[in-house]
Symmetry: C2
Subunit: 181 residues, 2 copies
Amino acid sequence: MMDFSELMQARQSVRSYTNEPVEEWKIERLIEAVRLAPSASNSQPWKLIIVNDPEKKDRVARATYSTLVSFNRFASQAPLLAVLAIERPKVITQIGATLKDREFPLIDIGIAASQFCLQAAALNLGTCMLGWFDEKAIRDILGIPQKVRIGLVLTVGYSDEPPRKKIRKKKEQMSAFNNYF
Amino acid sequence: MMDFSELMQARQSVRSYTNEPVEEWKIERLIEAVRLAPSASNSQPWKLIIVNDPEKKDRVARATYSTLVSFNRFASQAPLLAVLAIERPKVITQIGATLKDREFPLIDIGIAASQFCLQAAALNLGTCMLGWFDEKAIRDILGIPQKVRIGLVLTVGYSDEPPRKKIRKKKEQMSAFNNYF
């Protein structure tokens, strides 16, 4: 069992997968990780669509490809995709958001995706969060209403990549005490 | 050591703290949890300001109070506050965001805050994410430029609350396979 520091290190964006399928019990644990995620006013403003039907999965994967630059093509390789749709938060959250000009559901989607990907890593699964996709195409494939935005598409599967060293800003570039810098 | 499921259960929004200070080595681990967080195009669009100067901490805490409804007053009790400021992402991310009409940095702030709070729970620390605050006042206190938005204020300390059972939507209300519902 990894401690949380090791788990954060182990989670990395995986862009190459084996063809081994994801076990059903692990899918249940991933759903549970999103279900338990905290959110503004406990609104839980998300729906998680697990895409494992081969034909739909293939179409959703293709909807994450870019025609501008060649990326996300690895999405077709992942045995499982998960789509995080953004639901309306509670009325109190909506009022607060308007008063303070801030979009809490996007922060909440990030929290939920984080718990999903860390839980996956704890189960020895690789993931990648995709923020670039053809939203309208994915709505059509999964029957998502026009007014519902899609937050992220997550690829899931067994990694075919070695662990990498993380490239990050230095502590001094991203943190400080008591004063902005 | 907790496994990740136990850790997610242990993390809860803590609104009552003992007066025990947070050890310096634990603060370093919390900074590291944000530093390692994944983000769109690895932009790391955040600065984490740890507020432990007593006078500044008191002023930031007061800036999270609401005059409309009485909440966040517990923030003054927390021995430590952390402010997540939102930085501009990479140019490629900004172009993508414009093309796709989406604000990646807010998702990224959620991911970073999630790693912060889970790491805190792994260190037996309680946290609460506050999305409601007087942004201008906090900017003034910490010297944050006008154009920089503040994503979240996090309270940190030793919990004075018992663990609660989480109130969440049922699995059937927040997840499905292959079709939106």
